[in-house]
């Protein structure tokens, strides 16, 4: 049995760790709340964008002589994946779950894959798996704006248009709730607009013209999708970290309880043996 001194030292050290993980848990919780608010704040824009896009796409499908590159599905010879991961670790299985899903997709796609990594963990993954790494964007921070993510969408649009890649996937952890973050892989380009629901297309007046508007709208749409995915990934990151840190704090507290019990036993034992010594000494004198 370890001495009481050793036990005391261990308890103190574990208690310090618990303090740190508790603090990290609190920080993650408040960042998560903020990230969730940002996701919600961006929702009206994406809803409108989606409905406008559906209208335009229905119109585009109707006419045969026009073809908008960003909507065009062509034979896939190369795949680009935008992988959105956190910069930092200590977020439980979040990164592993996502990279595992990406690995599966890469295997199934049976095409050369080019990666664009957002976040350090994504870069590490790309380097480790030896896939071509086109670009790394890290240090996006906790407060991303569309301007922060615009270079990412510009890059993938340029890659697609120059036929560097024939489709672009977007891989990120979707925030379902605090306990669940779903690894998600969506097709970003070619854009697949939602089918029009309800009644048919409304006779809009388009200025300058439907195709021109569509051509201008699509890059914005892609931009928004990327921005949205970054926000989702951020909310996931913070909630995963919050849960991981809560588990760590709980485990540390359990450990402290066990160690305290051991310490008390050791102390009592020491007292008992000391008393036995004294009693033995007194008996010897008598």
């Amino acid at each position: 049995m370890p001495s009481t001194q050793v036990l005391r030292r261990r308890i103190r050290s574990v208690a310090n760790t618990a303090k740190i993980t508790r603090a990290m848990q609190m920080i993650a919780a408040s960042k998560m709340r903020r990230a969730q608010e940002m996701v919600v704040a961006g929702r009206p824009y994406s809803e409108h964008m989606n409905s406008v896009l559906s209208h335009l796409a229905a119109l585009e499908r109707g006419s045969e002589d026009t073809s908008v590159p960003l909507l065009d599905a062509r034979e896939v010879k190369t795949t680009g994946i935008v992988l959105i991961t956190p910069d930092r670790g200590l977020a439980g299985g979040l990164v592993t779950n996502l990279t595992r899903a990406v690995e599966r997709t890469i295997k199934e796609s049976e095409t050369p894959v080019t990666l664009v990594a957002i976040g350090k963990k994504g870069r590490n993954f790309s380097v480790r798996t030896g896939n071509e790494l086109k670009a790394v964007f890290d240090g996006i921070g906790d407060n991303p704006t569309v301007e922060d993510t615009r270079p990412i969408s510009n890059l993938v649009i340029a890659e697609f248009e120059s036929a560097g890649v024939d489709r672009v996937l977007l891989a990120y952890s979707r925030f379902v709730n605090t306990a669940v973050q779903a690894p998600t892989i969506d097709t970003l380009i070619p854009v697949e607009p939602a089918e029009l629901t309800g009644n048919a297309a409304i006779g809009y007046i388009y200025e300058p013209g439907p195709v021109e508007v569509l051509e201008k709208l699509l890059p914005r749409y892609i931009e928004m999708e990327v921005y949205h995915a970054v926000l989702e990934a951020m909310a996931s990151e913070h909630s995963a970290r919050m849960v991981a840190m809560k588990n760590a704090t709980d485990a540390a507290n359990d450990l402290i309880d066990g160690l305290t019990l051991q310490l008390n036993k050791a102390r009592q034992e020491a007292i008992t043996s000391e008393m036995l010594d004294i009693v033995g000494g007194v008996e010897a004198l008598a």
């Binding site: 940002m38 824009y45 809009y204 200025e207 508007v213």
Partner: protein, 147 residues
């Protein structure tokens, strides 16, 4: 008086959502005036100012491009960026313009460039607005500040 619902949203947040009497927006083919019961319209916007009138109040917003949709007496603006014009200071606007153009020249990466260009455009519009405001300072209605 008839009104229509105007919603201005950016990818980051909803900037404005109110019933208004009229709207003048910088369409890609020129200024557009929108009154209640306008026909369905979908247009691109160019960077510029947008004037919103409601109940005799006049608000000016600065947009750096986007899209405008009119449908069922509802106007939705999908703006790249949009800001309520809250008392623009000419001197500060000019300074911002100078700073922005310097940043465009001394950019270090694409992130910087896209940001600097945005700032530059915004500053340009601001300066224009402030100059005009300065000329008619006696008649210009003070902008209503909203949060």
């Amino acid at each position: 008086m008839a009104t229509f619902k105007l919603t201005i949203v950016t990818a980051e947040r909803e900037v404005f959502s109110e019933d208004v009497d009229s709207l003048v927006a910088p369409g890609i083919d020129g200024q557009l005036g929108i009154l209640p019961n306008h026909a369905p319209l979908m247009t691109q916007l160019q960077p510029g100012e947008m004037t919103v009138r409601s109940d005799g109040d006049e608000n000016v917003l600065v947009v750096t491009g986007g899209f405008l949709e009119v449908l069922n007496n509802q106007v939705t603006i999908l703006a790249d960026t949009a800001e309520m014009d809250v008392a623009i200071d000419l001197e500060r606007a000019e300074e911002a313009l100078k700073r922005a153009s310097e940043r465009v020249e001394n950019r270090q990466s694409e992130v910087d460039l896209s940001r600097a260009l945005q700032a530059f455009r915004r500053a340009q519009i601001r300066v224009g607005l402030a100059r005009r405001r300065g000329r008619h300072s006696s008649t210009a209605t003070p902008p209503v500040q909203r949060t």
